[in-house]
């Protein structure tokens, strides 16, 4: 069976790859393109570790077929920081000690970025519900939610 040829944009850069019809975008990102910042925790869309954006929409990359990405814009954790430094969300995660083992962190950073684009001033409850699909087993979420709310304030230009 012939492979499917796909051209897509990842973090602003054009990529070409070949994939199988049933192959997930997560598998292509990690195994074919070496973008291992996106993590695999369950493969069933229940843990959020593989969160990416697809045309700006937050999605679990384990439940996106690689073939679907043709002509789309993908955003992964590798594209969150810039040449000028860390994104405020990343900086606040560090300052608030919002990670322990760190394996859920890339998914949380990508999801938080999607949240704050939609809702720059979330309440604690809104942040908790929006991020309910990002499992963290280490922190009890306390410091994560504080980091998210502080990042939001910082991005709005308010000092927390």
């Amino acid at each position: 069976m012939a492979k499917i040829q796909v051209q897509t944009t990842i973090n602003g850069e054009t990529f070409d790859y070949l994939c199988d019809g049933q192959q997930s975008l997560l598998s292509v990102l990690r195994d074919e393109l070496g973008l291992t910042g996106t993590k695999e925790g369950c493969s069933t869309g229940d843990c959020g570790a593989c969160s990416i954006t697809l045309d700006g929409q937050l999605v679990p990359s384990c439940l996106v077929l690689a073939a679907e990405a043709q002509g789309r814009e993908i955003g992964t954790v590798e594209g969150v920081s810039s040449a000028t430094g860390l994104h405020p969300i990343q900086q606040k995660f560090l300052e608030h000690a919002a990670l322990q083992c760190g394996v859920c962190t890339p998914g949380l950073i990508v999801a938080t970025r999607a949240l704050l684009l939609k809702n720059p001033n979330p309440t604690e409850a809104e942040a908790r519900y929006y991020l309910a699909g990002n499992l963290c087993r280490c922190t009890g979420y306390d410091k994560i939610i504080k980091a998210v709310l502080d990042a939001a304030a910082s991005m709005r230009g308010e000092s927390a």
């Binding site: 695999e40 229940d46 843990c47 394996v103 908790r128 087993r137 994560i144």
Partner: protein, 760 residues
């Protein structure tokens, strides 16, 4: 969050107790950090495991010939490829492992003992090919009746998991074939007489479900083998040296041939202190002469890696009217899974450890069932034991109409008391924790309708064990510290803080590294709440040894005796006769290393026999929907004695994370099996771990009663936080609904049943 200082160490710290950004953080927020599944090697094959579809069966025939002929298949391994080994004991952190069982858990030999038990493994060019080939392996099973519950395992006519194996431990032991693998028992005083003299006695059965550690990163390994027999193992583990010795024993290899490099670890909580994939990958790699990668699916993690024991514990506790405990009696039944080795021993150590009980007795049974073999999970066994005892204490408080914290204060252990498990307590902080909880605003916050407040306490002994560390100085005056403990939650930062404190340099000038088994000295595993305590002590010693070098170098530069040089605030300072010299900073000395004797490097190793126990007190406020039985956690507080918090943010993080796991275990998490013994919920959808919207902020109070065994007063903090929540949450629910709950998890149907039973 707040800190409460006990009296004690008056050392003024400069770096210890601050909250620097962790050194490995940048790579973890940008996706650069490499976890178990992130490594790829040229020519690497993918491995997959065929797992048993039965909970209990004999393997009559296993035929891999069709699978071997499948496209892309390079190697197949079954139990026939593993050397036959005898029984015996090997230490594995907090528990002991029988190598024969360890091997048989990794690859079933003769019999499968749980649904998901590995029976064969395939390496192929792609993972799809490996999985397809697994389907072509034919296994002829003689299906046996599964033993799924403790009651089934103890029944007179119970099917026997391990025929011919005798129970060990304290007599009386069962005669003949049994599913009881071990019996422990101990007693003090005249328990029966003491109960007769008690004013109030409560007793009951308390049940907790089997629960999984739930780390987000599945087990993963990449193995390369060489023609000379060497094996290079990359894996996600809490203990690279433990992996080395366990692989050596299961494959009967010379350990010298094995090098283990720990990846970043995506959570472990005890579950990554043992091995599953590594020896299989070694055998596949040897046969295929290629590197082999193996990564578990989430379903495999649930079905085949270590949960912790489900338990049934009968407890009886008697008090005088004034609240003083007079007697306790307990029978603990622990599910071990398919092989012997539940944490019942640790449970029996911790059971009565927090209180002075003049007369006590316990019996503990390690019982095999056709469920996955349990592995360590954060303070293994202690949460189950505390669930029974701390619930009984809450019942007594209600019956006596005594404040539940006051009742605990009346009986709490303090310095000089003899612990129920033997040793005499040195300085400990249980009373300080109870008082801090009592004085916390949450304890006075008004409760509304259908709301209840639970109190619970917990104890964990913590461990010391062996650690080594090496500190080296760069020529710019910065430092590198190397240890062998995978950083599971911020320990690199603690190690760097320790070096910075000792050498008197900024923490950013210290680079903390985690080495592989060939590049660092031996370290026991990351577990037992031991890393900041024991490995931290090795780092202190190594830093002190570096300071000796620095003083000698300053003496050389100044042409004076070493005795005339002191190391003070990060500088060599001259005294008696050398005091005219301008102090030399670390950077000044480092710059001249080449001319004063060469590179500066020092190592140290420690093996502390004890660690200084940790105590915690939790408060939980809960609201129960009386029409549905659904619980909502409103407020939660963790108070714990940390001795001295090296990095307070990560101490609080341990408190909060442990509490969250305990809340999940109390309210939602459980292993569900169908009648054939097949796990029904092997995924995050139905194995319900807490999500962000399930929890409130988890408030913390870090009590600091210095541990006399550690130079800074540090106590391990990782495990104690999961000990109190089961009872704390249970007591909150019970008080909210006015009915005593005896079974976890307290799912909505169970709670609604209790409410309706009360209504009659």
């Amino acid at each position: 969050m707040s800190n409460q200082n006990g009296s004690g160490s008056d050392r003024k710290f400069k770096v210890v107790g601050t909250r620097p950004i962790r050194h490995d953080g940048l790579d973890k927020v940008t996706g650069r950090a490499n976890y178990g599944a992130d490594l790829a090697l040229p020519g690497m094959l993918q491995g997959a495991i065929l797992r048993s579809p039965h909970a209990h069966a004999r393997i009559k025939k296993l035929d891999v010939s069709k699978a071997l002929a499948m496209p892309g298949v390079k190697a197949i391994v079954t139990s026939a490829d593993f050397p036959e080994i005898g029984s015996g004991g090997m230490a594995a952190g907090e528990s002991h492992i029988d190598p024969k069982d360890l091997q048989a858990n990794i690859m079933a030999r003769g019999k499968v003992l749980y649904h998901g038990h590995a029976v064969a493994a395939v390496a192929a060019s792609t993972i799809e090919q490996a999985r397809e080939a697994c389907k072509m392996i034919t296994v002829d099973y003689e299906v046996l009746k599964p033993v799924m519950t403790l009651a089934q395992a103890l029944a007179k006519d119970a099917p026997i998991l391990h025929e011919g194996r005798k129970a060990v431990g304290v007599p009386p032991l069962p005669e003949g074939d049994t599913n009881i693998m071990m019996r422990l028992a101990n007693a003090k005083g005249d328990v029966d007489a003491a109960f007769k003299g008690a004013d109030v006695v409560v007793e009951g059965w308390y049940e907790a479900s089997m629960a999984h550690q739930g780390y987000i990163e599945p087990h993963a390994t990449v193995v390369t083998t060489r023609e000379n027999g060497q094996a290079e193992i990359w894996c996600s583990t809490q203990g690279p040296f433990a992996v080395k010795s366990m692989v050596a024993v299961t494959l009967q290899m010379d350990p010298n041939l094995i090098r283990v490099t720990p990846s970043e670890i995506g959570g472990g909580f005890g579950g990554k202190t043992t091995i599953y994939l590594e020896p299989v990958a070694v055998l596949l790699s040897r046969k295929a002469r290629r590197p082999v990668k193996m990564v578990m699916s989430r379903e495999e993690v649930f079905r085949a890696t270590g949960p912790t024991s489900g338990t049934r514990i009968w407890a009886k506790l008697g008090v005088k009217k004034d609240g003083s405990f007079v007697a306790a009696d307990t029978r603990m039944e622990f599910e071990a899974g398919g092989f012997a080795g539940s944490p019942m021993g640790a449970a029996s150590m911790t059971l009565y450890a927090a209180y002075n009980i003049p007369n006590f007795r316990f019996e503990g049974l390690d019982i095999v069932v056709n469920r996955p073999k349990v592995a360590a999970y954060r303070a293994p066994g202690a949460p189950n034991a505390a669930y029974a005892l701390e619930t009984a204490i809450d019942e007594l408080a209600q019956k006596l109409a005594i404040d539940p914290i006051d009742l605990r204060l009346k009986n709490a252990v303090k310095e000089g008391d003899v612990a129920s498990y033997g040793p005499k307590y040195d300085r400990i902080g249980f009373i300080e924790c109870l008082q801090a909880a009592k004085n916390h605003p949450q304890y006075k916050a008004p409760l509304g309708k259908n709301q209840g407040r639970g109190v619970g306490a917990g104890f964990w002994f913590n461990v010391g064990l062996q650690s080594s560390a090496t500190v080296s100085i760069n020529d710019d005056g910065s430092a590198v510290v190397r240890t062998g403990n995978p950083d599971i939650g911020g320990s690199r930062a603690s190690m760097a803080i320790t070096v910075a404190e000792e050498l008197g340099i900024p923490v950013e000038r210290v680079r903390p590294l985690v080495g592989d088994t060939d590049t660092v000295g031996y370290c026991d595993l990351t577990g037992g709440s031991r890393v900041t305590y024991a490995t931290g002590m090795a780092v202190i010693e190594a830093s002190k040894n570096v300071i000796e070098h620095l003083r000698a170098r300053a003496a050389t530069i100044w042409g004076c005796e070493v005795d005339a040089v002191e190391w003070r605030d990060g500088q060599a300072v001259g005294t008696n006769g050398a005091s005219n010299n301008k102090p030399l900073s670390l950077a000044d000395i480092a710059k001249q290393m080449a001319h004063t004797g060469g590179p500066i490097i020092a190592s140290a190793s420690v093996n502390p026999p004890a660690a200084g126990p940790g105590f915690g007190v939790h408060l939980c406020d809960i609201e129960v929907d009386p029409e549905t039985g659904r619980s909502t956690v409103l407020r939660y507080l963790v108070v714990q004695d940390a001795g001295k918090a090296v990095h307070p943010s990560y101490v609080e993080g341990q408190f909060q994370g442990g509490a969250a796991q305990g809340i999940g275990w109390a309210l939602w998490e459980e292993y569900l099996f169908d009648k054939d013994g097949k796990m029904e919920n092997p995924g995050f959808l139905d194995y319900r771990m807490p999500v962000a919207s399930d929890l409130p902020m988890i408030d913390t109070v870090v009590v600091e009663v210095p541990n006399p065994l550690h130079p800074y007063g540090v106590r391990g903090v990782g495990e104690t936080p999961i000990v109190p929540p089961l009872a704390t949450v249970g007591n909150a629910v019970s008080r909210a609904i006015g009915v005593r709950m005896h079974q976890l998890p307290m799912t909505p149907p169970r709670v609604l049943d209790a409410i309706e039973t009360k209504k009659g």
